[in-house]
Symmetry: C2
């Protein structure tokens, strides 16, 4: 896989950076799931310090080697991948001053805590100044990184290399009219109720959690390499190739939401977990891009999860675990899940 001596040296040195990333991922997961409230005081400082340390180690130990291979010829596709991924990171790290990195890393932890509390209380005002500061800092970030047309292009590039605001505009401009037409047609048909009764029925969190776990097990989630926890907004974090954690939320009503969030995150997780083990702890460990990631999560959530066939698999499990859904007929459940029996199409 890695034959080039410089690349091998990079991969060796990168293990310390990967380890910092591992720690920061775990700290992020913990902050959203189990950290006691006041823990944010230490966590925010530690997160910012480790972000700086990462930056410093990268520039000091890895950067000179990366520069050596960036223009190099005869690299195999893995080696070229390392050069490309780290080359991009290096360029970015150099453009944004240390101070901005530090403040943003600290603010993210603090703001996330304020957001959680504000969300629970439905109090946007409490979060507003933090959101403003995050925006401000992100704008600064964009200015440092540089862009051709729109400041967000500089930031979007982190998620989807090369994608611009203009591309996204173009995509939605072509998609929206067609989607609107489909939506109108479906609404006119009158098959799906505007709001289904089950959306308003309160469920037992413990029952739904058991349902989610059984569904994940059926989908093949490897519990020895992952976890399902609870957070205000569902997410997936790959702490390592052998430890990928997902969350869902329990809003109390409309159980589809929690279930499909779990299936969505399952899609992210299964992608992260299936990276070649030989790439573990190297710069090539993560997914290719957010777009590819979402293609996986939405495939499982929408193509698999919201299909008639899958809902027929779900039905007996819902019957088994969810007392509130027990009185509903087969047809009613199909309507709630917005699926149509194939023969009726």
């Amino acid at each position: 896989m890695f034959v080039n001596e410089t690349v091998k040296e990079i991969v060796n040195k990168y293990r310390a950076l990967w380890s910092l990333g591992h720690a920061m991922s775990l700290m992020g997961w913990d902050a959203e799931t189990y950290m006691p409230e006041e823990g944010v005081k230490g966590r925010s400082v530690a997160s910012a310090e480790l972000a700086l340390l990462y930056r410093r180690l990268f520039l000091q130990d890895v950067a000179p080697l990366v520069e050596k291979v960036m223009g190099a010829e005869g690299l195999n596709e893995y080696e070229a991948g390392v050069a490309r991924v780290l080359g991009r990171e290096l360029e970015r790290l150099r453009k944004v001053p240390e101070k901005v990195h530090y403040e943003l890393a600290k603010l993210r932890v603090e703001a996330s805590k304020v957001w959680r509390d504000a969300k629970a209380q439905g109090n946007f005002k409490a979060f507003e100044p933090y959101l403003e500061r995050v925006f401000q800092l992100r704008r600064e970030f964009a200015e440092h990184l540089g862009y051709k047309e729109h400041p967000y292009d500089a930031l979007l590039d982190y998620y989807e290399e090369g994608l611009t605001d203009k591309d996204v505009e173009f995509m939605f401009r072509s998609l929206v009219p067609a989607i609107k037409r489909v939506l109108e047609k479906v609404s006119e048909d009158g098959y799906y109720p505007r709001a289904h009764e089950l959306e308003g029925v309160a469920y037992e969190k413990e029952e739904l959690e058991r349902l989610n776990r059984e569904v994940l097990t059926i989908l093949g989630f490897p519990w020895s390499r992952g976890r399902l926890d609870v957070s205000p907004h569902p997410f997936t974090v790959g702490v390592s190739l052998w430890d990928v954690r997902i969350t869902t939320r329990y809003e109390g009503r409309d159980f589809r939401r929690s279930l499909f969030a779990a299936i969505h995150e399952f899609g992210h997780a299964i992608y992260d977990m299936n990276v070649d083990e030989a790439l573990a702890m190297t710069p090539l460990e993560g997914g290719a891009s957010l777009g590819v990631h979402e293609s996986q999560s939405r495939f499982w959530e929408n193509v698999v999860g919201r299909s008639f066939s899958f809902v027929t698999v779900l039905r007996p499990l819902i019957e088994k675990h969810l007392s509130i859904a027990r009185g509903y007929s087969e047809e009613e459940l199909y309507r709630y899940f917005n699926v149509v029996r194939p023969s009726t199409i």
Copy 2:
């Protein structure tokens, strides 16, 4: 508090080391509580890498400054504390080679996982080779650190500065005969049953957990700054001054054990939590020594927890939460807890 310019610089630079410590503490907590099984593969590498990084940063950034203040005059007691604590650490870091640090940090994570599995299966053989290797490495450690009489003196010094094998021998030699006499007298009295029936009765884990939580709340455990979780061996970890986590275990029978473990760890936690906030994230944040730590944990466990008065507080809570203990008379519960009504002494 810190006035001396060099000490102030040390404290500033130390924040990166503290942050690594923060991450490593959380990783340690997570490995014992929530980490999925196979996560050990990445966690062991990350732990070893961060241990090396800590060492490297210490020697590179902090060591020259520490050397400057180690002999300095006119330091106030906080500044002298920083010089003393970091001076000791520096001396140790220099004596033990990087390779040994790395291997031990990695092995500790791996061995702990093997130990957990072996414990659950009652299979010592599975753990034996790991234990042997830990011993071997610890002996190497001791040789590098140096000692006057017994190799363990070098290691004991980590927990209780200056204490030696000989001191411990001497203490136990004086204590054991007296304790034996007390034990014989108590056994002859026949008040306490050799084994109490309640030791063998299986409890509901969820019920006991609720009891433990209510007891900790009554003792004043600040839940906004701490957690109670489950691990095969109870422990306390101070992730920061504002985030101290304790664990207990649920063995299924003899509920005192779980309850007193929680109270014991509460003692450790409350000590960690009450360090002056001005010392947070500095080298003086931790407790003074393991001896002082145990004086706190055992005070709460034994002097408070195992007192007649406290058991009278416990009784209604046990009645409320623990269905298996409901049939027992007041006197029976006192016997189970080995306490005597003051009037009868």
